[in-house]
């Protein structure tokens, strides 16, 4: 609103997450930073797992022979070995890679379909909208995990491979996520449809397609980063859940935290803690990190929830850039200039 336009900050400062980080203060900033750090470590580990992990995810032996099952932490195996004889540390690190690929595939698959359907459903409305919403609600009412199991069986066909497992998890998650994106984009679209700028596009004779993509879509996507992060953490949980139930990826194809947890159930009662704690911790931390980022973005996006630096009541640097059309008091005689009449 202010007349004196503040100089535009550099491009990198206006990037989605960076912008919010600069905007935040206090506890909210702490949450966001913690979330970003955890998520950053997760992505780093996922990308560099082959370099970081001491062994491969399916390695059972080195030149000294087999690792041995259920070795306690220490020595060659920093975090011990599992009941199947795998190195726990390597499995946890490699698991990040599987988790990340599931997130990427699931979100990529669902975001495009969900956004497009939401846009059409919200803008065109009528019976089409009702049909789409009924289907979405039906899918929504279906238990996620059950759907995921069905998808996992259908896709992998009983065979277990890395990409088969990843896609099984991702597709099943996609099916559940599409309604979420659809709902959010539809709600935004319905709101934006009533805005005067959409009507003004209509009265100048713009076609439906042009209005939808030029005027509605770009304004409707603001909440996407938020659902994106929240859905990512849900994707990890679903993947882990699938693995835990035995529908995940076999240890020979990829490392998967849920599978490791499943295999460690019997260890818990016999006092072998390291096989379950580390994969479990990995799941909790990654979900926590991503959720923290998502929740912080959510709070920061809403000016009512966003905490601000407390005003000190001292002299202000922005006193002259007020919201008053017409400029400061000193400018009264030259109000023409401010109103752009020169």
């Amino acid at each position: 609103m202010s007349l004196a336009t503040p100089a535009k900050p550099a491009v990198w400062k206006r990037l989605p997450v960076v912008h919010q980080l600069r905007q935040s203060v206090g506890l909210q900033r702490g949450m966001l930073v913690a979330g970003l750090v955890i998520t950053g470590i997760f992505i780093f580990v996922a990308i560099f797992a082959p370099l970081l992990a001491p062994y491969g995810y399916s390695t059972l032996r080195d030149e000294d022979g087999t690792f041995g099952a259920q070795q306690p932490p220490g020595g060659k195996h920093l975090l011990g070995t599992t009941v199947g004889g795998y190195d726990v540390l390597s499995r946890v690190l490699w698991g990040a890679q599987t988790a990340l690929s599931v997130i990427v595939v699931a979100v990529l698959l669902s975001i495009f379909i969900g956004v497009l359907l939401g846009l059409i459903s919200g803008y065109i409305g009528g019976w089409l909208d009702r049909v789409i919403i009924v289907i979405a609600d039906a899918v929504y009412a279906f238990p996620t995990l059950l759907l995921a199991i069905v998808a996992a069986i259908a896709i992998s066909g009983g065979q277990s491979s890395l990409w088969g497992g990843v896609f099984a998890a991702a597709v099943s998650i996609t099916v559940v996520f599409i309604p979420q994106y659809l709902r959010v984009i539809r709600a935004e679209t319905v709101r934006i449809k009533a805005e005067a700028y959409v009507e003004s596009a209509k009265v100048i004779g713009s076609g439906t397609g042009r209005i939808m993509f030029r005027h509605v879509l770009r304004n409707a996507t603001r909440t996407l980063p938020l659902i994106f992060t929240l859905n990512s953490s849900e994707a990890i949980l679903t993947l882990a859940g699938l693995g835990f139930l035995g529908f995940g990826i076999e240890p020979t194809s990829a490392a998967e935290w849920g599978y490791d947890l499943n295999k460690s159930i019997s260890d818990v009662t016999s006092g072998i803690w390291w096989t379950s704690v580390f994969p479990g911790l990995a799941i909790v931390l990654v979900v926590l990190g991503i959720t923290l980022v998502g929740e912080s973005l959510n709070d920061l996006a809403d000016p009512r929830l966003r905490t601000k630096r407390r005003a000190d009541g001292g002299p202000s640097t922005t006193a002259e850039t007020t919201v008053v059309p017409g400029g400061s008091l000193d400018d009264v005689p030259s109000i023409e200039a401010l109103e752009g009449r020169v």
Binding site: P6, S200, I204, K308, A319, P325, V332, E339, G340
Partner: protein, 554 residues
Amino acid sequence: MNNVLQIDKLKVTFATDAGDMVAVNDVSLAVAAGEVVAIVGESGSGKTVTAKTILGLLPDTAVSRGAVLLGENNVIALSGARLRGIRGTDVAMVFQEPSTALNPVHTVGWQIAEGLRAHGKYSKKEARAKAIDILRKVGIPDPESRVDYYPHQFSGGQKQRVVIAMALVLEPGLIVADEPTTALDVTVQAEILDLLRRVRDEFGTAILLITHNMGVVADLADRVVVMYQGDVVEEATAIELFARPQDPYTQKLLASVPRLGTGSERAAERASARVGELAAPVVVAENLVIEYPGRLGRSGFRAVDGVSFTISPGEVLGLVGESGSGKTTIGRAIGGLTKITGGSLQVLGHEMLGIKERAFKPVRSDIGFVFQDPASSFNPLLTIAQAVAEPLIVHKRAKDAASARTRVDELLEAVQLPKAFGDRYPHELSGGQRQRASLARSLALEPSLLIADEPTSALDVSVQARVLELFAELQKEFGFAALFISHDLAVVDMLADRIAVLYHGELVEEGPGSQVLGAPQHPYTQRLLASLPVPDPIEQAERREALRVLKEAD
């Protein structure tokens, strides 16, 4: 000293994303018992923040310095419990929007009693008796049964009466009324102003009136404080201020207020220039009916009922009416945004009854539309130049925004915006500038018909004056016919050749401005005219008397 309120060197600072912002800077004022003091100012002048400080209603992000003395209490220094103690008993507030100030799930009687219960022990019966009593005093008919009504069962004006009743029930020494009539129609506004005057006379309550409407100030205030950008620029008695404004800002503000009777001369001049040419009218409405469909099993709502009018080429028709009169609906129907259900509406030779969007699309290039709210009528992600180029691109006069730039610059120049503004985003422009850009966009295809739906009602008076002037200039230059929709008679008078008055979906009066405003025939037009407060306390007192006579004659 019998000041009920004494504000001393108040300074309020808000924390925003862009750093601290001073909303109120060194304001001092006093309100004596039984006095009506008005704080006037345009948006952003800090008048509402000042009012909220008096009740301790500022959000956490605000820091206030100075002193606000209510009797002996310094509100700024008070803690929560003490603050609650003085709210309602020492000072009460009347809000701008009566429909949101009342809780829809409780009866009005309960809400009035709520204030009583917060400050003492009342039995149910006593509280109810008191609520009935106060409702009667604020002029709600049949208060014994209306006390059990829910807010939605009252009209807007009655709701505001209930809000005033809630403020009055504990007999506070001071009522802070923040734009109490802004959301109301002129005829209702006159009644509420009457009520506030009576409140002062009968209860001896001092009133701090926050408003941007100079007519309201002239009608009610004893003393006026003019605020600009957080500072008090002038303080004087109402009569003194309107007669001899001292500060240049006050002078400018008063000069910008549209006054009745200024437009008839101009209209006559234009009419004489147009004489002889009798081209086919651009818009012909005959028995136009527009209904909004009702819910299943219920009949629809008839927003426009049998309205007939014409707009000739190059003519400006002013459409005046209060909220719910159907004026906006007619504008939208001409622009093809609302379907008509009966009668006939011909726009540029096309019959709108049952027209298909495809058949109407080519006509759209000949119709411009200016919307009420400049804040939302621009896509926030497009620059002004891109937005103005949109109609050119859609109608294939230009390939893209860049190739349309020369034309866009011409248009911006025509609405007196610097070319460089084309590269700005809508939020970087002020309301008046945005409304000019909106004019530029609607004129991009050189339409022969322009529909302006309350184009200035969201703007401050000084900005409004500019935009209206510009509109008149552009109309003269481009020669388009226009439908100018407004609730403000004075604004319509400045621009329109002919004025049509709508009341409950029906056209009650239509004719040249001088006739409709000078010698109104229909009782509604007469009442509408008499209710409009003029920015002159002495003249307004006479008009008030005339309105009273008119009402008694009814």
